[in-house]
Subunit: 156 residues, 2 copies
């Protein structure tokens, strides 16, 4: 579990560095699919990871809109700030936490239960999926994407 | 580990069903990013999963080109055939296999070692990443993508 989080964090860091060479118009530009743009995707990834892991810790979710963070420095800083709160929880994960239950309410007000292990894997898959979208849009910008390879990253 | 494979297999099956309603021109059509098309991506995902897991079992990789499988039925059948060989290995995964070593040669002929656990996570991330690309291209075709959510799939 931990290795896949470390992979995501490394890839996200690489994408923030990648963004440094992209024009200020291209990063927030509206695009087809996903949440609709490169910078908005990075914001969304950081938001979703933080909000779910806050839920697992009984802390408040993040609810501020992308519009308040629509430049590269702000999203980079937000992601770094969230990382400081997310990382200790992920690093202290144990197998016993797998089957703990999180109770939420759906938007219709219905109770719904999730296993902690289910939420953790959801968060992992969520980031990788959205990064896949960045890899398409990177070609529209005319730049090669960050490699998605998990091997050869020094993680093992 | 197993849950993320099950997630990928379920999502892949959903995408094959999704393809049924897409025109025969749109599926192989060349697109920006990734391996360059919807059908080619599904072929590539099945190929990479099968080839790495064959490596871990000391079996031969798959080396046939996409061009020999460039229609929906052929890729669906290939993925199903590969699944029969991949699934027993994944289902019998144990923690002791994590640190087993796979020795490969790079394209330059240099020896390189991977941990079995590293390869398994690489395969998981590889599929999720490429499915993220499909989710962008699906909008180009005018169809909603398959949900990438891992929660609410009955996996836990």
């Amino acid at each position: 579990m931990l290795k896949l989080f470390e992979y995501n964090w490394q890839v996200r860091k690489d994408w923030f560095a990648w963004c440094q060479d992209v024009s200020e118009e291209d990063l927030p530009k509206k695009r087809t699919g996903g949440v609709g743009g490169i910078l908005h995707t990075l914001f969304h990834i950081a938001d979703v990871e933080f909000s779910w892991i806050s839920d697992l810790q009984g802390k408040r979710e993040f609810t501020e809109p992308f519009e308040d963070y629509a430049n590269l420095q702000k999203v980079t800083d937000l992601s770094a700030r969230f990382h400081e709160e997310v990382r200790p929880f992920v690093m202290s994960w144990t197998n016993e936490m797998e089957s703990k239950e999180l109770s939420e309410l759906t938007s219709a007000g219905e109770p719904v239960n999730f296993k902690y292990g289910e939420i953790m894997r959801h968060v992992i898959a969520h980031e990788i999926h959205h990064i896949g979208q960045l890899s398409v849009w990177s070609r529209e910008v005319g730049k090669a994407p960050i490699t998605a390879n998990l091997i050869r990253r020094g993680l093992f």
